[in-house]
Symmetry: D2
Subunit: 285 residues, 4 copies
């Protein structure tokens, strides 16, 4: 069992002394810094920081840390949050018919790679119900039509609330979420798109790639925003193809990187390593 | 010194017996097949083939091979060409101000990696003149303005003709060639675009990539067609970037893959390994 | 349902006319060549070939093809075999405690990526029994100790025979098979080694890699021979690591490539794309 | 022109308050931290840190910084060094006959990628003399035989001293340096080995790789120590090969990654991003 630690994620206008003040705050309260990383965006001169320290022996009880840090945060006009590593986030996985990303997440969860609970699987199809239940996961069926979409999303959001979901993963979920849904879970919905964005946004990316005759295909994991396929990119990877690969071959090859890229993005999110800045991510690996 | 061989490149509607007839043509004339590769495009059912055989002891003198093969080609409605490996193609390199791709080609040429001659370097700037001359390469200066463009291109094409140029390489040449120019050298002009096409076509791809916040950047080498950045792709490669990379950092990292991707495309072309099919390439590696 | 085809795999001393004779054999019997690939090893001058043709309309009934081809094979001193694509190979997967490779193979099988049956899972531990049974796979438990090893292997081989197993996959099976076992299944046992061979052969490769401070780790899939970790390599891949990665982190990252590399090797084998030559493989992709 | 900054590189036993004390030292002297990175090696609990700050407005004159920092360093038992980014290191490149790595370094130097001077090229052959002189680089010829080696190395070291060399790059230099030479330039000699170490250490790695039948080849850049090919690894990269690649093809493909890997290592060194810990490197990218 790893010892719990605290993670401070923040951004603010860059000024002298920020690092000194923050590390002094931790030190004078008897904290031991385990890891710290920072980045200053140019030319805007905005500082982004992730700092993690051991909670053992820390003088401030964890429920008072936020209050204790508040004056410093105000002084430097920080946007900030504190997370604790012994908190276990709760994930809802949205799926349609493709099982490779879903199956991969379940496998990683079972092997202890994803420190989270998966209390809920939601789908607009029944195809993956047996697989979900085989792994003991609750499966909710929400068929979507243009007429029912709004109503169904309300049902879904109630389910998310009921299960106290912290993160929604679209594991090849073939429906576009409404702006309203997205707003409720800003930067808490991760999607996998089966192309190297911004190339081949939209539908059927492998067919687009085949038609264009590219020599490399890719996959992109990103936070979902109101603009489809335009959200901040978290992770990408590619794989080589040749003229011999049909669109279907590309789909098969692509599955392997879709799985890895989505899992990587989810892990980065669960480990509180991502800050969003405009349409981009700062990823402290 | 390698022994000379003949390379037959062809495409035709796929039918039974093509391979048998071609290999029989070579065998009955006492030729030894060194390498053969083929690909059938679906669903159009078009066969593409590259077959290479030893010229030593081949019963047909090389100047008569075309004539001797013609009946077979007609029977199967082939588009075809025969090349000889002891022919040394002549290259003109077009450059502007960036030197990395140009320098890399010159280096590879000097190391014997590119079996070609480079009798001509053309540029719309004078920056690389000293470097070209340092390597003993003829350098022609053709400054381009909207008013002079047509006239200058005529001059360039006369130079290409005079030097019996077989292949034009745009090694980060920052001018768009006219349709007329392109038509004269169809599938004999290779460009390097500093992005992973079709992402970030057009100008300043590294700035586009930086703004979008991608986690991987790329380079694409392609034949030049009338549609800018739409020509058949020959080779692509990518390199990882992070939020820490500025547009300028990406430009620096990108240089390394631009060089390699362009050199790869040029080598494939010089070795007669590329067939163009619509907007795509068939690359027999 | 794809139409069945025949695949001829052969090697022989390279001589003029081989390709012509083989393609003529197929053509005169009304066969349509779907794909052909060849390679001549230098300086030994040995030809390796894989040629696939449509069985529909082929004049020779499939049960007579071997007999009909025999004279040609003898004339050119071929080592050869004919396979049919509608034959479904039968796989036994050997596992110990690690589940990632096993789970991945089962997932791919379920998605239709592996054209094979998996009638048998064998293990020296009971850990993966529930998972195997959850997927409806027969699980046989063969605990191994130095004293029981020979006897247990006899039992295993009887099981393989009983289930008509064509291919044995060692999916992170932590026992060394005896020479006798290996001989019975020469080039029909595929192993995944969790390093970039020949680096870090033997046990605990991730710890070795961590100690050496490498910046890239890898995985290797190979046929099993009497010499441990020395068998012909089928596929390899790598992933970057940094000083921050502990041996355990490397193990986690490595899992992703182990899975992909093993699956790739298995697919190449099932598609009859591999010829073994000495300690190497010829892989016709 | 970039503004100068100071870089502190240190290692020490990990204790509470180190980061706070160091950042306070910088802040109270009116310094602005531009970048900071740290790593704690487990289980030894040793902290490694790289911290960079703006010299503009810094209260301590640069010539006094070492003295001012000394008490803090002593308190925490640091091994440490301070570097200034406007110092231009002086490089000697050692070559033999291969020109690709040498040429690549010269190209990067000319493009401004390597912030250093190259006052000296040393070789045991005369082959690259014309190329060096073409680029205006001083070339010293030191032919080596078993009898002359010791004497020649003395001459080389005098040259290094005379030219105030800070970094020696072995750009495919085919001689083993003596222990005595290595000791004088500990962690200031960078070598490129043309394999993925620890695979294929020693001579003719491409032939070794060809014989083993690997599917990927690599290159490794490392600091030179007394144990050949055993020095701390700085950077590695790989490229795919197939059975079609002869040892010579591998050598050709390998050139491309040798160049990139060596250049990467040199840049990391010049930017003061590397700390050595035992037989490993900590690389703060």
């Amino acid at each position: 069992m790893e010892k719990p630690s605290a993670i401070l994620l923040l951004s603010c206008p860059d000024r002298k002394g920020i690092v000194a003040k923050i590390s002094d705050f931790i030190f004078t309260n008897n904290g031991n810094i385990l890891h710290a990383d920072q980045y200053t965006a140019k030319p805007e001169s905005i500082l982004f920081m992730r700092i993690e320290w051991d909670l053992e022996g820390f003088a401030i009880p964890r429920e008072n840390i936020r209050e204790a840090f508040e004056p410093l945060a105000r002084q430097f006009q920080m946007e900030w949050t504190v997370r604790f590593t012994d908190f276990t986030p709760r994930i809802a996985i949205f799926v349609s018919k493709h099982l490779h990303c879903f199956h991969d997440l379940v496998l990683r969860h079972r092997m202890g790679e994803l420190k989270a609970e998966i209390p809920l699987v939601i789908s607009n199809h029944l195809d993956l119900k047996p697989l979900a239940e085989q792994f003991g996961l609750a499966f909710k069926f929400y068929p979507i039509s243009p007429e029912t979409k709004t109503r169904q999303e309300i049902g879904e959001m109630e389910d998310l609330k009921k299960h106290k979901i912290n993160l929604v993963i679209l594991a090849r979920y073939m429906q576009v979420l409404s702006s309203d849904f997205v707003k409720h879970y800003r930067y808490r919905i991760i999607n996998i798109h089966h192309s190297f964005l911004p190339a081949f946004a939209g539908s059927k990316p492998y067919e687009q790639a085949y038609k264009r005759g590219v020599k490399i295909i890719g996959a992109t994991s990103h936070y979902v925003t109101e603009d489809l396929d335009e959200g901040p990119i978290i992770a990408q990877d590619v794989i080589k193809v040749t003229h011999r690969d049909s669109a279907e071959d590309m789909m098969l090859k692509g599955k392997d990187i879709e799985r890895v890229v989505l899992a990587k993005a989810v892990k980065l999110h669960l480990e509180n390593r991502i800050l969003v800045y405009g349409s981009k991510t700062i990823v402290f690996e």
